[in-house]
């Protein structure tokens, strides 16, 4: 079903090339789409932001930015100008601060990357713990555990964050909210981000474990006298883990989107708070840059996942083995 790619050796190279091409196209189109959202939709956000007396930009600054973006020219010319710069890696000038957008984004990036990676690890741990519990605990407890992912999916990010802050910050004093970068505070911020992400992961794991546990080989292993834990660890875990590789890749976007709320609540300085500030100030070039950056990350991670699954899963690389048998 689905993505069983019959790979010939040269076929794999073609797969890589075509996926790369698609990825580049998607990133390019993501830029065009967000440009349209930012520039063509009603409400002249850029001009408003420029003439906002609080922006602290001088007349020369404004003239420089207007000339840079071609704001006095038709939208199509503006798009071509912007695309021309985008191809060379130039993401423009911030309307709020007059600084290059690339600098702003890359300054904010390390903090968010660290937060997102910590959250990803936590989400994996949570998901595996739930899935293992569902399969090894007695049926009563397992039944309760089975409904945990759908509960996790029903709680908005900001509620999780505020509850964690209220319980562990204000009541138990496990961390102080005034030091958002301390390890414990970072842990709770990452947990906020991890809980919604862990739910779909756990669901994929649980259902593929269900499928694998019903296979004949699992029965054979049981009848050989292996304990349930042994069967689980030696036989079921590996094949069940593969679908989650794809799922993790798809959830990267969730982490990036969730960072806007999480960083705001915990007072961290990162891409999420940069987005929040830029929205407040109508700083559209920064928003455009973050959207495109997220698309790049998403496309890259999914490219890696798509290309590595056929290599990791012996069942999907059929032709290589056939070749060996024939020759």
């Amino acid at each position: 079903m689905g993505y069983t790619v019959s790979v010939r050796l040269s076929g794999y190279r073609n797969l890589v090339l075509s996926r790369l091409g698609q990825g580049v196209l998607v990133i390019f189109l993501a830029y065009v789409l967000s440009f349209i959202v930012v520039s063509v939709l009603p409400g002249d956000a850029i001009t408003n932001a420029l003439h906002d007396p609080q922006s602290g930009l001088s007349e020369e600054d404004i003239a420089r930015i207007v000339a840079f973006y071609g704001l006095d020219k038709p939208v199509l010319i503006q798009l071509l100008l912007a695309l021309g710069r985008f191809v060379t890696g130039d993401l423009g000038i911030s309307l709020q601060s007059g600084l290059p957008v690339t600098d702003l984004v890359f300054d904010a990036l390390p903090s968010t990357t660290f937060l997102a990676l910590t959250a990803l690890i936590l989400a994996l741990v949570l998901a595996v713990a739930i899935a293992v519990g569902v399969h090894l605990l007695p049926s009563g407890a397992a039944g309760i555990l089975r409904s945990v992912p759908s509960f996790f999916l029903s709680v908005p990010n900001f509620v999780i964050g505020l509850v964690l802050i209220s319980v562990f910050g204000f009541t138990l004093h496990t961390f102080t909210i005034t030091e958002p970068n301390a390890p414990v505070a970072t842990f709770f911020a990452a947990l906020t981000l991890a809980i919604p992400v862990s739910a779909p992961l756990a669901e994929v794991l649980i259902s593929s474990l269900d499928v694998e546990a019903r296979q004949d080989y699992a029965l054979v292993a049981r009848s050989r006298g292996l304990s349930r834990v042994n069967v689980f660890a030696q036989h079921l875990l590996k094949p069940s883990a593969l679908p989650s590789v794809t799922m993790v890749a798809l959830l990267i976007g969730e982490l990036l989107g969730g960072a806007v709320i999480t960083e705001t609540i915990f007072g961290r300085n990162g891409v999420g708070t940069l987005v929040q500030r830029s929205v407040g100030a109508g700083d559209q070039p920064v928003l455009l840059a973050v959207v495109v950056l997220s698309a790049v990350v998403f496309v890259l991670v999914n490219l890696i996942a798509d290309l590595s699954v056929p290599l990791l899963d012996p069942r999907t690389s059929v032709t290589k083995k056939k070749k060996a048998v024939v020759s």
């Binding site: 993505y3 189109l29 759908s150 997220s294 496309v299």
Partner: protein
């Protein structure tokens, strides 16, 4: 629509929960009750509370929850339960609007792509790929910041970010049904493509699209609450659920200001998701 999209559809069909057989319909009944209350709150708020959502009793500021004030009062002495009830209309109806936008546009794209195939399919597929590649919440934030901070714009933004999932599902359903034997036999007995679309494809795809629409309704409530929480919806004194939580967080000594509206959001979304799962199973 290859690549990412195909993988996702493959995954989704794989990951339909096959367990969970022992669940009680009681939880489904309870979920319907919650939804009925949310709808009644939206339609007839004054039936459920005698307080005013905007005028507070200044002698009763930050009163903790009790018989008189179920959810306590806020810093102006306004009854929080009343604020939640009056905030239902915009919270629930904007989520509904978002689902309708996503459903109509997304299904349209999916139908065209799946039915016409060829270059139309690949062109629309790229658009869906792009929408999937941009994190949904980020896309909604950017759209709402372009359109202006109003709840109706938050609904539009949420709807646009839901287009991709509907498009993907509809396309997969159309392709699945188009190849089914009964559709082929309708071609053989002289039916044309439009007839097949109206009489066979749409009714069959409708069920799973409905399940997704309900699930997406829950997601939209959360996304719109998050946008309101960040201050991107209607400003106070309107009382969108997310906005209530946001203003409540300024008063750490009065945790009910957060917990009460948050519990309402969670209960509603939980119920919606429960109903969606139940519908998926009883098919």
């Amino acid at each position: 629509m290859t690549g990412i999209v195909q993988l996702q559809t493959a995954l989704e069909t794989k990951s339909t929960p096959s367990g969970n057989r022992s669940s009680l319909p009681v939880s489904v009944l309870l979920s319907f009750a919650v939804i009925v209350f949310a709808v009644l709150f939206s339609a007839f708020p004054s039936l459920f509370t005698s307080h005013s959502p905007e005028l507070g009793d200044t002698s009763a500021k930050l009163v903790s929850p009790g018989l008189h004030h179920w959810f306590g009062t806020d810093y102006l002495g306004r009854d929080v339960f009343t604020r939640v009830v009056y905030g239902s209309l915009s919270s629930v109806s904007s989520a509904l609007a978002a689902v309708i936008i996503g459903l109509v546009v997304g299904s349209g794209i999916g139908l065209l792509a799946g039915f016409l195939g060829g270059w139309v399919d690949s062109a629309l597929g790229r658009i869906v790929d792009v929408l999937l590649a941009i994190p949904g919440f980020l896309l909604a934030v950017v759209i709402v910041s372009s359109l202006g901070f109003q709840t109706i714009n938050a609904a539009i933004a949420t709807g646009v970010s839901a287009i991709a999932v509907f498009g993907r599902l509809m396309r997969a359903e159309v392709i699945k049904i188009r190849g089914a034997a009964f559709v082929e036999s309708s071609f053989l007995s002289g039916g044309n493509r439009l007839q097949a679309l109206i009489f066979h494809v749409l009714p069959n795809a409708g069920r799973s699209v409905l399940v997704l629409a309900i699930l997406q309704f829950g997601t939209s409530i959360m996304v719109i609450a998050s946008l309101a929480f960040l201050g991107y919806g209607d400003p106070p004194p309107s009382s969108d659920w997310g906005l209530l939580v946001a203003s409540g967080k300024e008063y750490p000594t009065a945790p009910w200001l957060i917990y009460a509206p948050a519990a309402v959001i969670v209960a509603t979304v939980l119920s919606v998701n429960r109903i969606s799962r139940w519908l998926k199973k009883v098919r």
